[in-house]
Amino acid sequence: MGSRYSFDNPDPHNAFITICREAEYGEGPLSGIPVAVKDNISTAGIETTCGSNILKGYIPPYDAHVITHLRSAGAAIVGKTNMDEFGMGTTTESSAFGPTLNPADPTRAPGGSSGGSAAAVASGMVQMALGTDTGGSIRCPASFCGIVGLKPTYGRVSRYGLIAYANSMEQIGPLAGNVRDCALLYSVIAGYDPRDGTSLDLPAPAPLKAEIAGKRIGVPAEFFGEGVDPAVAKTVQSGIDRLEGLGAEIISCSMPSMQYALAAYYVTSMSEASSNLGRYDGVRYGTAPDFVRSWHDAYSHIRKSGFGEEVRRRILLGSFALSAGYQGKYYAKAQAARQMVRNDFARLFETVDMLAGPTMPCVALPLGETSDPLSMYLADILTVPANLAGVPAISVPCGTAHNLPVGLQLIGKHRSEDEILSAALAFEEGSV
């Protein structure tokens, strides 16, 4: 302990909400490496806002489990990155702290919701960053910014200290400029934590080595279905061809539950969010309530003024999906559909080692373009299945379409991070 990292780089892409200009760091595998942390991960003594007005000024009195690990690995935590408010978005434009610009094209959004972390890495401000992925929030911005992002197996990384959006699906994971850095950061944060009842007790990650030959890689037809930009499809198809060239066996397959995945994801995440976000009443932390009003009046008011439109939309829809008379139609059906997605993965993984396809159906969108919520939701169609099933998935750069980065997504079996990281490394090295 005791060394200081001076971090006074300009932030032209608005990647950060909070910058720690003098960051302490210690000894360890990440000694002296600047690491950015998404602003929904609790950091003792450093404001943590989730990109929301309602949490402005909130200073957690405790560190998230991953932050404890980062500190003991010697990392210099240089700031908290911008994000869609409470992780609810695919562009980072719903942040109360203004949009983040995509370093690959500053007229475009970086993707989301971990857009700040992706931009901080892609612009070279930091070597690596932590993001969180509830329905693609690491992989989407990694794809759009041309970097690597891993969503670990549900339970592989402790969620203790991660401010909840949709508990049953989200994971903290690494974003980095290359697979090796991504794997390094992953190896630091992965591990059992008794404070997270969904945490898995597994052996430490294996050392990384490029390995793809002989792997059986399934390509579900639905991953190239309606709504996927043909130019993106073409780039990803050539990436899959390269996997084959590296010795992988490519197997066409089908995942019928994809027709339900997006609806199941949104119903589940909105339902959980409507409950998770009830606590922001300003009483114990965050923007203070108006004490002159009566309780329900003050509460309703602070939720109106403190939350942005997308958050309120999801709270309302989630409350509806759980409400008396509608829970059976929405929440219960979403859980049944979720099980179908899991069953589909289980069936496919009996014959293949991993699945491959585009991370996103499109490239980064121009800033300010997504005003219709449903069309924004539809962009998550390829990332949400991994969250519904809790399996790991990685997005790795695979070329460009329309001169913008495109990501290849590899989805693995439960607990197979080592395997998809090894495949991603082989792909990255083989495609240089």
């Binding site: 000024g57 009483v283 114990r284 939309r313 509806f320 049944a336």
Partner: protein, 89 residues
């Protein structure tokens, strides 16, 4: 189909303020989104998600609590060690 009144009712349940002007916007958006969710109608019931784990417990051992200062550090105008909230009666 949900109506403006339905959206207003949900806002009451969720205890979240919604303006009259927003009601129209949200009603239109909700109908588009809920139409999309209708795909779930064809999901057969009874396929409840199987739990991934069971019986996760901790032992009944006391862990130090936060200091009083840490408890109150983010609260507005605490009084005599209590945290202040708007009136409920």
């Amino acid at each position: 189909m949900v109506s403006k009144e339905d959206v207003a009712h949900i806002a009451t349940i969720a205890d979240i303020g919604v303006d009259e002007s927003e009601l129209d916007l949200f009603t239109g958006q909700f109908n588009a989104i809920l139409d999309y969710f209708d795909v779930l109608d064809s999901v057969p019931i009874g396929g409840d998600a199987a739990p991934l784990r069971k019986n996760v417990f901790r032992d009944d051992e006391v862990v130090p609590s936060l200091s009083h200062d840490e408890v109150l550090m983010n609260a507005t105008d605490p009084e005599d060690g209590f945290i202040r909230a708007p009136r409920v009666i």
